[in-house]
Amino acid sequence: MKNLIKLIYFIFLSIILFSQCLLAEDKKQLLTNNWSFKGYFGKFDRSALQRGYQVYAEVCASCHSMKYLSYRNLAEKGGPEFSKDQAKAIASNFEVTDGPNDDGDMFTRQAKLSDKFVQPYRNDKEAIASNGGAYPPDMSVLVKARKGGADYIYSVLLGYEDPPSGTTLDDGVYYNKFIYGNNIKMPKPLMDGQVEYNDGTEATEEQMAKDVVTFLAWSAEPHLEARHKIGFRAIIYLIIITILVYFSMKKIWSRVESEI
């Protein structure tokens, strides 16, 4: 029994140690928000996701691609859950090149649910050339690709400031408190009232940042809700079976005069 306690103690200590070591690396005070998707039962806020898509489509999408998302994802469970018709309507706003047709010609058509998000540039070179030499990263997995995740993206969006006196910035470079090196080539993207939300929510800078980050968190981890749900069940199941096995082990070992 004593060994058992030691073992469990060790397991938990190691978890804490692991997470501490790895989490506590970056101590720069990032801005945070009460993300609904954090925690053991975390779920996305449906309306925040829908508003977030609107911010992405109206603000970010002019430079940032999301090449791993398809329009059908917008109507899938665990995501923004637009209705199928809404998602179809969204897709129909875009044109994609398809083909070759039977005559061997490429043609353009309206996007369908099965199409990937249309990208703003033909290729990376064009993206860089159109943005003053800076590559606007694809945003599909951006939240997972940055240390600090959702908090970091949120902080950068709200971290624009006038540079401290004495710092001179080159043309087309902006000062941001949270970006590595404090210099960013993306101009401040969000201004109060920049989008007009369909659901009447007031489009403050913070609100838009929160919504778009929620949307990006979903796009980086589209199965997060399923993961949390299955995880909870799996762990409960494991705990129950562990307890059962523990008692059968006790029973079996009671035949032997020894400690387990």
């Binding site: 004593k2 030691k6 692991f18 997972k144 589209p222 993961r227 494991l238 705990i239 020894s258």
Partner: protein
Amino acid sequence: MSDHNYVPSSKLGKWFNDRLPLLSLSAHLREYPTPKNLNYWWTFGGILTFCLITQIITGIILGMHYVAHVDFAFDSVEHIMRDVNYGWLIRYVHANGASMFFLAVYIHIFRALYYGSYKSPREIIWIIGMIIYLLMMMTAFMGYVLPWGQMSFWGATVITSLFSAIPMFGESVTNWLWGGFAVGNPTLTRFFSLHYLLPFLILGLVILHIWALHVPGNNNPIGIELKKPSKDTVPFHPYIVIKDLFALLLFLIVFAFFVFYSPNILGHSDNYIEANPMITPAHIVPEWYLLPFYAILRSVPDKLLGVVAMFASIFILVILPWLDTSKIRSAIFRPIYKQLYWILVLDVIILGYMGAMPAEGTYLLIARLATTYYFVHFLIILPILGKKEKTLPVPPSITEPVLADAPNPQMFKKQEE
């Protein structure tokens, strides 16, 4: 051994067993006499077998959807995460499974160090184990390259460049490994091929590892030879089976916690950026389980000597049975070794921590001291200590105390806590 006279009860069973004695083998595995005082540190062998099988099964499924090509590898991983049914689950189990595998193997190795399981007559078990460990590191490293993220690419570049330190042939060896003049598509495809192959070699070696174990039988916490079977042993089934199962389930709870609630915590965020040979990440760090060796590599100022030191730190473990001269196996009866053991554990943890830090200033100094101590422990302290140390009296069996009126060894352990 008792199972040699095993006779199947059915006629068909007997006919089959005479031609292929699988039933005898199964009987042997069930009856295999195991010391009854094994503690929970001994359950990691079973846990490791489980880890290997899990990695192989999830890996085969991932291999059905993965595309080993520099233009498609990253996309195909995202495809697995998004579009393959439960692909996210399989990939997270595989990725975190690697970490869990190493967590378990480190506990398994350090258990062997504490209880002297590597000593005669178990040297071959130990050496096979070390080869498995080496193959595990190679497999894990190549697996980390496959998603073709930034850390994959740059980790591969750093590690394969180590071979350029070889005098004379360095450059040609690295070019040969790469299949070109830099890490590229040929590197990725061969890594995929080898990453698929090596686990099956590991599986074969695991079978040899267990076979070699079944010749002398398990070591045990007090490290004495037991008469088998006797009052001191229990049959493997059901006693050890149920205990291993219980420990495995506890382990699985931890595993599930990582998979479902922090699946990316043990990875590096840069690996969600597609590999780009034109942009070097600020810090290139290997996965956590390779950090101690990375620290040793970097603490030596000379590249070649650094590589030599890194490989030596593993090779030294292979010859450990001959470096440790003590006849007593278990640290329970070696008061000084026991202290030094914990210092070594601490030393390796420090090395791991330093491996994650930039190699400069105080970090580098600490890493150098820790590296030195690592080698001193194995090369100087252990050979001398074995000859000089005053060990405690060892009991003749698990059930019998050392002397008629002395407390039994189980009591010893309790007093020390």
